[in-house]
């Protein structure tokens, strides 16, 4: 199982974080839009997301989530709505915190259910390093080096990551 990428969206529908792993196109283009140096290996490319792709991803999850909730017609908790979908080439996992941020994880199609993984990425990586950092204005793109390396370590330590 490989994890391909992760997007994090804030409550204003903007992509505030994006990372890819194991991308075969990583050496083809090195568009470095970050102000600081990205600490990358050959496999990982860190740009703030091609904004068009990010918008497309957000549009997809937003529409699917609304559609799922309309089809349900009940008063149940919203976390039982849309959570993943699978195509022939990838599987997309979605986690939404009631306070706003949304996490989107893209893996290969055979991945197991990653809902708990996303929940713990949110709780132990995002909340710890981004939310609790008082010097960071909320809803701005995440430039935090510690966040990036913790997230990277966490994903690489997932049981089936290659």
């Amino acid at each position: 199982m490989t994890v391909h990428s992760i997007h994090i969206f804030n409550k204003k529908c903007e992509c505030i974080y994006f990372t890819e792993w194991n991308n075969a196109k990583a050496d083809a283009s090195k568009k470095d839009k970050l102000l600081e140096q990205s600490t990358t290996t050959a496999e990982e490319k860190d740009v703030d997301g091609d904004p068009e792709t990010a918008k497309l991803v957000y549009g997809v999850v937003f529409s699917l989530r609304n559609m799922a909730s309309k089809l349900r017609h009940s008063l149940q908790n919203s976390n039982q709505g849309f959570s993943t979908y699978k195509t022939g080439t990838y599987k997309l996992h979605y986690f939404e915190s009631p306070a706003g941020p949304k996490l989107v994880l893209i893996t290969d199609p055979n991945a197991p259910n990653m809902a708990e993984t996303l929940q713990s990425i949110y709780a132990s990586v995002y909340v710890e390093h981004v939310v609790k950092n008082a010097l960071v204005k909320p809803n701005t793109p995440i430039r935090n080096q510690l966040f990036r390396s913790t997230l990277d370590k966490y994903v690489r330590n997932l049981p089936n990551f290659e």
Partner: protein, 201 residues
């Protein structure tokens, strides 16, 4: 607890029991603790410095509320991460969660909920203890105007706004001022809408 009639009354009383248990559990096991004296003294010196800087007590109240607002916006994410709770079914559920899980988790106290308004949009939190005011006595000129723990109002306002509930939160009475009880009134102004992505026209 007096409440307006709700469609799922058995559901919400189960939710109340779960709230109480999860609040206690998180407080015991999953939060780091610091010394209460350190906390009370830090807050006290913060208020004292604000009083020195702003000189007007009403301005100090506003600043405390603003600070609380910023804290609340971040605290709610920590709250969700630790408690794993999702959206509340009703405003009464929200009130109960605030009291039994939220306050319990961060301050170790459980204020009582009472004085529901007829339309179910306002309630009061009654505090029988307040860790912020451990060693505090207000001077005479402050007694009439300063709401010492006003940061709590800001925290509630900021946190609830992140879950799309716009509320007004004010102190009604405070034991530091010589009243019988410490009471915060929380009023739901409106439910906010989620942001929709801007369309690419």
């Amino acid at each position: 607890m007096q409440g307006t009639p709700q469609p799922r009354s058995t559901g919400s009383s189960m939710q109340m029991q779960r709230n109480k248990q999860s609040g206690d559990d998180i407080w015991k096991n999953r939060t780091d603790k610091i010394s209460a004296e350190l906390f009370a003294l830090t807050y006290g010196s913060l208020v004292a410095q604000l009083v020195k800087d702003y000189e007007e007590y009403s301005e100090v109240n506003t600043q405390l509320d603003k600070m609380g607002y910023n804290i609340g916006g971040r605290l709610i994410e920590d709250f969700i991460a630790k408690s794993g709770l999702t959206k509340c079914g009703s405003f009464a559920d929200t009130a109960d969660t605030i009291s039994k899980v939220g306050f319990k988790m961060f301050l170790g106290i459980t204020p009582a909920i009472s004085n529901w308004s007829a339309d179910g949009k306002e309630f009061s939190l009654i505090f029988d203890e307040n860790p912020l005011t451990e060693f505090v006595e207000l001077p005479d000129e402050a007694v009439r105007e300063l709401w010492y723990s006003n940061i709590l109002c800001g925290v509630l306002r900021g946190a609830l706004e992140m879950v799309l509930l716009q509320v007004e939160c004010t102190f009604v009475s405070d034991v530091l001022r010589g009243d019988d009880s410490t009471e915060i009134r929380v009023k739901l102004v409106r439910v906010l809408d989620e942001e929709v992505p801007a369309s690419d026209e």
